[in-house]
């Protein structure tokens, strides 16, 4: 394999990525690109980022051997990278800290964000409070209803939550609205995008900040398991937790990289969010990537039990990794994810996020087909406290 050094200067991963935005946003993206180029290798910036990750987030996050569950499955050994133990309860905060530090260096007193399930909104509101920045979070009005607890958390942290009424009133529409805000207030506002999508340099920048996950695994796995894993498994909505753990493993060719998309009611049901498995390439939200769209190029509504995976696109680097065959992408249905959620609670004493439950579900499907000496590393990207209501409702369990 040739050395992997993407994206190119204009943000392309093969045919994917790029800068597909209106002229009104170009100056802001150019500024961000220039400033990131200046700070990404700046020892002082890196030291501050690492200090914040250690003392505010609680990194490094541990790697945990799910021994009992692996025993029961009778095959490969499953390990969890515990991003659920981060402050705010998910991997999202890693990226928010990186971008907030950039915002401060750019002298922008106001940050905005889009959010679906509310995890990225909470993480953004958290770092905004930590650094004294004004914070506005755009959230589809449907999601505001579904995720009342996270809306309240953001308000407690001092953020303004703006419900978005356009389109399907979900994550993609929140992203549209955040872009509109940014175009209008670009002078004093920094847009903290939550995933490895959007116009260049965002997919690269978010990946770089999230890569701390995989970099830790590279030194932790030999300590915890005696060697690197045979496969790394992560859920993919926009794809930031997956890219964060995959990227440092790309040169380790013997390690399989497996992204798990939300198959909703099934990959062939028409009700899912599996852009890589069932989408076709197109242009949305500033980049070229696989999209769920109709034959006229209109973006279609997606479905997943997990709000964080409910997005019709995917980061452009995943599109490229799929095309070159360096990563595989599979689907897990709502039902399979819920089963893994419950098993994880009862067998391992860990309540995982529904997003992460997709990755766990695939690992538990794969493990019995492999030998006991095989090692699977799953990115447990977030904790499931936020999903209590959804799970109770779907399982027909009484809330009290």
């Amino acid at each position: 394999m040739k050395p992997y050094d993407l994206p190119d200067a204009r943000g392309h991963f093969g045919p994917y990525g790029g800068i597909f935005v209106a002229e009104t946003l170009i100056a802001a993206l150019d500024e961000l690109k220039a400033q990131y180029a200046r700070y990404q290798h700046d020892p002082e910036f890196i030291a501050e980022f690492e200090r914040e990750l250690k003392h505010f987030v609680g990194r490094p996050s541990p790697i945990y051997h799910a021994r009992r569950w692996s025993e029961q499955l009778g095959g490969a050994q499953i390990y969890f990278k515990r991003e659920d133990l981060n402050h705010t309860g998910a991997h999202k905060v890693n990226n928010c800290i990186g971008q907030a530090l950039l915002a401060r260096r750019l002298g922008k007193p106001r940050v905005i964000a889009e959010t679906g399930a509310g995890q990225h909104g909470v993480a953004t509101a958290t770092v905004a409070a930590r650094y004294g920045l004004e914070c506005v979070v755009y959230m589809g009005s449907e999601d505001v209803k579904r995720q009342a607890q996270n809306v309240y958390r953001m308000k407690l942290l001092g953020a303004t939550v703006v419900p978005v009424e356009s389109g399907s009133k979900t994550l993609k529409d929140a992203l549209n609205e955040a872009l509109r805000d940014w175009v209008t207030n670009v002078e004093d506002t920094f847009y903290i995008i939550g995933t490895v999508a959007g116009p260049h340099p965002y997919p690269m920048l978010v990946r770089d900040f999230q890569s701390v996950i995989g970099k830790e695994c590279l030194w932790q796995m030999p300590e915890v398991a005696g060697r690197q894993p045979d496969a790394v498994i992560a859920c993919v909505g926009g794809g930031s937790n997956a890219m964060g753990i995959f990227h440092p493993y790309i040169p380790h060719e013997q390690v399989r990289l497996i992204g798990v998309e939300a198959a909703g009611d099934g990959l062939d049901s028409g009700r899912h969010a599996a852009s890589l498995s069932r989408g076709v390439p197109g242009v949305l939200h500033g980049n070229r990537t696989y999209l769920l769209q109709d034959s006229d190029g209109q973006i279609i509504e997606t479905h997943s039990v997990s709000a964080g995976l409910d997005y019709p696109g995917v980061g452009p680097e995943h599109a490229w990794l799929k095309d070159i065959g360096r990563a595989e992408y599979v689907g897990i249905t709502d039902e399979e994810a819920l089963r893994a959620f419950h098993d994880c609670c009862r067998i391992e004493g860990i309540i995982p996020a529904l997003e992460s439950s997709h990755a766990i579900a695939y690992a538990t499907k794969l493990a019995p087909t492999l030998g006991r000496d095989q090692i699977l590393l799953v990115n447990l990207s977030g904790r499931g406290d936020k999903d209590m209501h959804t799970v109770a409702e779907r399982s027909g369990m009484e809330w009290q």
Binding site: A22, E23, T24, A28, D173, G282, D296, G297, Q298, I299
Partner: protein, 269 residues
């Protein structure tokens, strides 16, 4: 054959007049209204008609055009039907230039080459893809040029001299200067700042300069026309049609005629 946009701008220049460019969304307020609205606009003095191709995620548009786009899609408007409408318009109007304005994905879904061929056949004269900045549009601009169609580009108050020059290298017909920071239909407009920026654009771009965003009435249109070659009006017209959907052709005709009269009125200063 000369592009209709060039022919029109040459004629206007010779007459000492400014171009008036209305924008309407194809399929709004109804699919059937689009053709009669186009004819009414042409009769009322439109020099170019910008026809919006509705898209599910119109990121650069404000609420008026977003809702218009949503209504059109809900009624079943498509890029194919938009092209068919232009072809029908050409059946009786072979002079008024038509520019399609929209987002990249419907074009990519159709296939860029196929789209350009069909647009040329339908009688489209220019294409403005909001999310194709020049660095992502070189191939597309070449495809258009091969069929005699003009790629139309946006310029913003934040565009650097270097970017203005990059747009200038690819642009044909006219460039569309977005006079406000923000989305379509936003805020108020500072004509002094527009004048300064248009002068800057003229130094680096040798096609006509149209100005849009924030122009709502004849008086503003006239002030903008003093510094630009063309005035583009979108949200205010789309809103007027949304307010009286049953009378769309009459409303658009009357509405544009007033702006035209303000633009052409003799100067007394």
């Amino acid at each position: 054959m000369a592009n209709r946009i060039d022919t029109r701008f040459e004629r206007l220049r010779a007459e000492g007049r400014k171009a008036l460019i209305p924008f309407v969304t194809a399929g709004d307020p109804s699919i059937e209204s689009t053709l009669p609205v186009m004819h009414a606009l042409a009769r009322a003095g439109a020099d170019v008609i910008e026809l919006g191709v509705p898209f599910s995620d119109p990121m650069a548009d404000g609420p008026v055009i977003q809702r218009s786009s949503e209504r059109a899609l809900a009624r079943g408007m498509t890029l194919g039907k938009t092209l068919a409408t232009v072809a029908e318009f050409r059946g009786t109007d072979s002079d008024t230039p038509v520019v399609l304005m929209g987002y990249a994905n419907p074009i990519e879904a159709r296939g860029r080459e196929g789209f350009v061929a069909q647009a040329a056949e339908a009688g489209v004269d220019g294409v403005l893809v909001v999310d194709y900045p020049p660095e992502e549009a070189e191939d597309f601009a070449a495809l258009l040029a091969a069929r005699g169609l003009h790629p139309i580009f946006l310029l913003a108050p934040t565009s650097s001299a270097e970017r203005i020059a990059a747009v200038g290298r690819l642009a044909r017909g006219y460039v569309y200067y977005v006079s406000l920071r923000g989305v379509t239909g936003a805020g108020h407009l500072d004509v002094g700042e527009v004048a300064k920026n248009v002068a800057e654009i003229r130094r680096r771009v040798n096609v006509s300069v149209g100005v849009g965003f924030g122009i709502r009435d004849g008086a503003t249109a006239r002030r903008v026309a003093e510094v630009a070659d063309a005035v583009v009006i979108g949200s205010a017209l789309v809103q007027a049609l949304a307010d009286q959907p049953d009378r769309a052709p009459e409303v658009s005709g009357h509405w544009l005629a007033e702006i035209r009269a303000a633009l052409d009125a003799p100067r007394y200063d």
